[in-house]
Symmetry: C2
Subunit: 263 residues, 2 copies
Amino acid sequence: MITVQMVLDCLIEPVGQLNKTVDTLKSGREDAEVRKVAVVFMTTYGVIKQAVESGVDLIITHEPTYYNHMDEVEWLSGNPVYEKKRALIEESGIAIFRLHDYVHSYKPDGILVGMLKQLEWEAYANPAQMNLLTPPSSEQHTVGTIATHLKNKLGIASMLVAGDLDLPVKRMGLMPGASGGRAHIKFLGTKEIDLLIVGETNEWETNEYVRDAADMGFAKALIVTGHQKSEEAGMRTVVERVRNAFPELQVAFIESSLAVQRI
Amino acid sequence: MITVQMVLDCLIEPVGQLNKTVDTLKSGREDAEVRKVAVVFMTTYGVIKQAVESGVDLIITHEPTYYNHMDEVEWLSGNPVYEKKRALIEESGIAIFRLHDYVHSYKPDGILVGMLKQLEWEAYANPAQMNLLTPPSSEQHTVGTIATHLKNKLGIASMLVAGDLDLPVKRMGLMPGASGGRAHIKFLGTKEIDLLIVGETNEWETNEYVRDAADMGFAKALIVTGHQKSEEAGMRTVVERVRNAFPELQVAFIESSLAVQRI
């Protein structure tokens, strides 16, 4: 019998138990049997419902369930959306494990590995720092052609760009997710990159830094792809990891649409 | 002679000195003479350059100068974009005052007042809670028609929407800027509103809450306008305030384009 704890151990093992982490079991029991696993970017209500209906015992999610990074719930008590989601989870008995800090702590970062693969950029990556990407000098890229590539490979309808679309790109940084303004700006300020590609920003931080840099005449640009599409393909690597460790389990990725549409 | 400190006193007076605030003098001297004032949403490099060239002595800005809410600069030491911006500011001697916490603490909130005026929604506002808006029952609104109104009145090219564009809107909330997921979600969870309009979100917070709410069948929707356009018209009220207090000063608003374009 495979238990929830055995699957968690397999996910934690490459890093070792972290003392401070948001990667905890959000629902369900460690000793429950697992036969079917779903890997997801985010445990939306729709995704959980689909998982429950298809007999999934364990969901492995990259992002939180209750609309905040720590999955704190006291402040949501009595909130009708929270209560309905919690009821669905509790009544089903489904186990939900967050896999965020561990997968980012794999060497190399499991999300980054999956994104590079999806983008067919594995050969660009600097082995010592895999989010620093140098295309071969025979290739001609601009911010605009990179944006088109991202759209095609990641299925993105539109994205945000700061700086000049025609700027030649000789080296770029790839920071999936929302690493924060300081991490973005330190990367831009210390690495010889023309373009930084990120999932999500605070508008007054990275966006304004790159606007200023471009207005000063520095050859800098920023692409903001949206958070979900910047990491989703990375979580697919977790499907392989669990399948390889437990060939007898059914493991599948459940995709979801974006939370918002642009009009 | 009008000094920087006299203008600051006029801006602070309606609230009284706050103990903890980001609203400090970021550059320049309190005792410097002021003849020309610029009010801006954000002290971008381009805006500061324009202000310096046109002889402005004091810039009043809603958002930070150095890409973080506290305007901390130690972490930016040696960063070429930071150093170039700091040099422009120091060499010019221009005074920069951040007006964020005070203007939001005016009764009613100065930013909200300006936004309601720009949107021609003053009559919708609940006098006891001015960010709670109830159009008269004779008017027929949907999320889609409200989005079109926002685009027209605020000059927004495109915006993000969660929930159904055809949802009828009988009551809505207006929270300019980036108030944070908890503030957004508490408002949505406790007020009888169909639609919440905000400036900026973290994608995994408000966006996902409203996606879940809509998927559960609750009549809830979200519009994310972008941060700058959600507050810029609110800062225009500051022009009037300074002009009224000091009729002999030249006071003008300097607009800027958005930091990012959508492609």
